[in-house]
Subunit: 187 residues, 2 copies
Amino acid sequence: MKENTRDKFIETASNLFGKKGYNATGLNEILAESGAPKGSLYYHFPKGKEQLALEALILAGNKITQSITSHIENIDNPIEAIIYNIENIADIIDKEHKTRDITISLIALETYLSSETLRKACEDLYQSLENIYADKLMKAGMSPEEAHEIGEVICAMMEGAITLSLTRQNGNPLRLIAKQIPNIVKI
Amino acid sequence: MKENTRDKFIETASNLFGKKGYNATGLNEILAESGAPKGSLYYHFPKGKEQLALEALILAGNKITQSITSHIENIDNPIEAIIYNIENIADIIDKEHKTRDITISLIALETYLSSETLRKACEDLYQSLENIYADKLMKAGMSPEEAHEIGEVICAMMEGAITLSLTRQNGNPLRLIAKQIPNIVKI
DNA sequence: GTCTATAAGCAGATAGAC
DNA sequence: GTCTATCTGCTTATAGAC
């Protein structure tokens, strides 16, 4: 288990960064929750907080893309599939009132001006989300060009509706955009 | 000019909080840019950073609502008006690559778990934005119930598309949602 | 109302023993 | 690879002179 300590750091950091944000999460907090000392963290991540955040972001991104994929893969009709995915997130926010591997908007907005590394990682992840929706639409016969445009629109709608839902402490904004999916996806 | 120093604090804080976020902006930075000493800040804002942020958020909210209102008030057709407003923001992001009184999503996501005061202020501001769009739609004959639903959808789409545009460093995500406004606003 | 000085604590990062 | 101790600088906040 050579990578066990390292993985524990990444998982703890991913949870804390995702919940509280990059700037509000101190290294000491990550250390305390990981149960490891500071020297160990800088051995595994010589470039410090930014490097740890990059790996944490990649882990969170994998969980988000996997969650979306698993929700839409068993429903052939892309409209029904995407609505099902949105309503699932709305239910989570109703229950938990916080994010756990749901959105990276907080990290994106915190870092787009201060860290080119993290900004680029967020940009890449948004592209991955767009591609998931685009692939689903293309499988239903939509042209690649239109599918990518609509995929990006869905990605934007979801990020904004998640932000509103978290602020309002309920999933209703997400349910309202779900109602609009049939108006946007013309297959 | 009794309130001059106080107003200067609020304006400086609003700019810095809006650009870098709540947690990344130190009081010392606000002090340096305001050109006033620390004691003066705590005289005007006895409750410290959170109180200053609340007033800064209200100022930013007023500027945002005023900007949207001024962009849509001279165009009768709500679809054209809203598209015009979105494309205006897209142009700003193309030029400046950052936010100045465009969105409060960063503050909302940073504070919804840590400050009930600031969370509520963000919730209220989102409600104001929704109302602006709803009013415009009702004037074009839409029912109040539907107008508020569509207003909230537009608000969510815009916040998400702004986040994507800032991350991608260009306004194209905003332009893609502008193309979808006619599919969502049925008048 | 304005300003200086400073407190008390936490931030990210490093050096070096083991 | 792991851990302790520590450095420097910044954070929010306060006390008290003017």
